[in-house]
């Protein structure tokens, strides 16, 4: 039998044991964003016709939290294991690079999805929103969380200090998720910033996810799914390559 199921179980248990911090806290943060931005901007922004700004915000904010927490899960688990040294307990058993990849990736996705479900559960009774195309929503939730879960593995493997990981998180993941059309429709931007937004793979994950609720989006959901899946595929390939080479893990 493979060590993969146990590694996946351990990675899920790790965040679940501190779920107040890893699930409840991001749900609360998201709700605060929702309250503040909905109050401040509701009168000024009309994103999609027939959709109120508060409704528009919910899926975007939920997806942003899902992306950030998927990244946080694999990256923080790896950096902690590396710095405390207990990574040896994963490196010594007969677990392949592919199994390590799959376990960390899936655990990250579970965390991201748990946060997403938490956000919807908490907003359900305040702001009921339709789910026009549930399969699209699920597909983008999976691809988005996978993309950031893989990115988190890369960051966790690459970082040697918490400082470096924090830089990765604050200077790359935060801006890219924040500026991915969570708070506005891309069509409200000047042409230059529209073009820049289209280079951001997270934008497609959020736009496509929103399509699952309102059946409206800035770009075609097929195009979004294509771009997000390609980004997920590329990140996965890089991650697997690093793990197989033992980059910064097996010296």
């Amino acid at each position: 039998m493979s060590g993969f199921p146990t590694l996946l179980y351990k990675e899920v248990l790790r965040f679940w044991k501190v779920s107040f911090q890893t699930v409840a806290a991001p749900v609360l943060t998201t709700l605060l964003y929702l309250v503040v931005f909905a109050h401040a901007l509701a009168a000024h922004v009309q994103a999609f016709p027939g959709v109120s700004y508060v409704e528009f915000l919910v899926p975007g904010l939920a997806m942003m939290a899902m992306l950030q927490n998927s990244f946080a899960n694999s990256s923080s688990s790896l950096i902690q294991s590396k710095i405390t040294g207990n990574i040896v307990f994963i490196l010594l058993p007969p677990i392949s690079a592919g199994e390590i990849f799959a376990a960390y990736l899936l655990a990250s996705m579970v965390r991201g999805l748990a946060v997403g479900i938490g956000v919807f559960a908490a907003t359900l009774w305040l702001i009921p929103i339709p789910v026009a195309k549930p399969l699209w929503a699920i597909a983008f939730a999976l691809v988005g969380c996978g993309m950031l879960g893989a990115m988190g593995i890369i960051a966790g493997v690459w970082s040697e200090k918490f400082d470096q990981l924090a830089a990765f998180q604050n200077f790359l993941v935060m801006p890219l998720t924040f500026l991915a059309g969570v708070f506005y429709s891309m069509h409200t931007l000047p042409p230059f910033w529209q073009a820049v937004s289209k280079l951001n793979p997270f934008f497609y994950a959020i736009d496509g996810f929103r399509f699952g609720f309102f059946a409206q989006s800035d770009v075609s959901p097929w195009a979004s799914l294509g771009v997000a899946s390609a980004a997920f595929g590329a990140l996965s390939w890089v991650t697997l390559h690093l793990l197989r080479r033992g980059y910064k893990l097996r010296h």
Partner: protein, 307 residues
């Protein structure tokens, strides 16, 4: 019939940047041996163990555990190997039992509770089974690490300085346990700085310095070749006779050390003392010590390698 080769190291080189950690190491450990790997800090012992466990990748050379190449056939090699790392490390998220259950799972073992119970019992950890790893003392964490290395009942067990910073009682418990495993057929590879332990436990010893093996022989042969029995005497109110003083050294405590090539020579030395009218305050015959062997071999190698 010779036992199969448990650990095979062939021509292993490893550099970390400018540091040459291993410079062509080859050795074989037979199944069932209690083998000691000794050397000063920085000799390359831990790098060699890391290479065996797949934590370090050699620049050249091969390593195998029970015939399984550690790179090509990593699953079988790692299944056959249990390593207790030198540094105390643990996962603060879990209890002792969870730690051992998870470690079992990494080896694909789902129903391992009875062996885990036995390990906990034999390593005197059963009262701490449900305690969080954080709450354990250093010695207890060390024992959990031993248990972690043994969850999959590996035929080859590697202990990298397992008794560093461990109290006497625990050290004895640990050695009794490891001796029992060796008696049951497990191959043991041990590194330690306590040469007395190595002398008592290991049947064969390799000494390393600067990434090379500088001595490799049975413990008995090393002792016979490099160490000798010493007669220690303390005299009262007189000096050592000149003939003996030439071959003796004086310890700071005032004891004289007189080398004895053979126990049979003891008679002659005592006769000389009596003849000179020396009064003995105290006397003892010291057995050969591995520490002496170690110091001599390290000095010899230092003299050889310095230009």
């Amino acid at each position: 019939m010779t036992a199969p080769i448990a650990v095979e190291v062939r021509g292993v080189h490893k550099r970390f940047g400018a540091v040459r950690a291993l410079a062509g190491v080859s050795l074989e450990v037979r199944a069932g041996e209690f083998f000691g790997l000794l050397g000063p800090n920085g000799a390359g012992k831990t790098t060699l163990i890391s290479a065996l466990g797949g934590l370090a990748r050699p620049d050249a050379g091969t390593l195998a555990v029970l015939g399984h190449d550690v790179a090509r056939d990593f699953r079988e090699a790692r299944r056959a190997l249990g390593i207790v790392p030198q540094e105390i490390v643990f996962d603060p998220f879990f209890t002792v039992r969870e730690t051992l259950e998870i470690q079992s799972g990494y080896f694909g073992l789902r129903a391992n509770a009875s062996w885990i119970d036995e390990l906990l019992e034999r390593l005197a950890l059963h009262t701490k089974a449900n305690a969080n790893m954080r709450s354990l003392s250093g010695g207890m964490k060390r024992r959990v690490m031993v248990a972690q290395a043994l969850v999959h009942r590996p035929p080859v067990i590697v202990l990298d300085e397992p008794t560093a910073g461990v109290d006497v009682e625990l050290r004895q418990t640990l050695w009794a346990f490891i001796r029992g495993l060796n008696a049951a057929g497990h191959t043991i590879l041990l590194t330690t700085h306590y040469l007395e332990e190595a002398q008592q436990l290991c049947s064969r010893i390799a000494m390393m310095r600067d990434g090379r093996i500088v001595a490799l022989d049975s413990t008995a042969s090393l002792l016979a070749e490099f160490s000798e029995r010493v007669l220690r005497v303390k005299l009262e109110g007189c000096e050592l006779p000149g003939a003996l003083a030439a071959r003796a050294t004086r310890e700071p405590s005032g004891w004289w050390r007189i080398a004895l090539a053979d126990v049979a020579h003891l008679e002659g030395v005592l006769a000389q003392l009596r003849h000179a009218g020396a009064t003995l305050a105290s006397l003892e015959v010291a057995e050969p010590e591995l520490e002496e062997v170690f110091v001599k071999i390290m000095r010899r190698d230092e003299a050889r390698s310095s230009p």
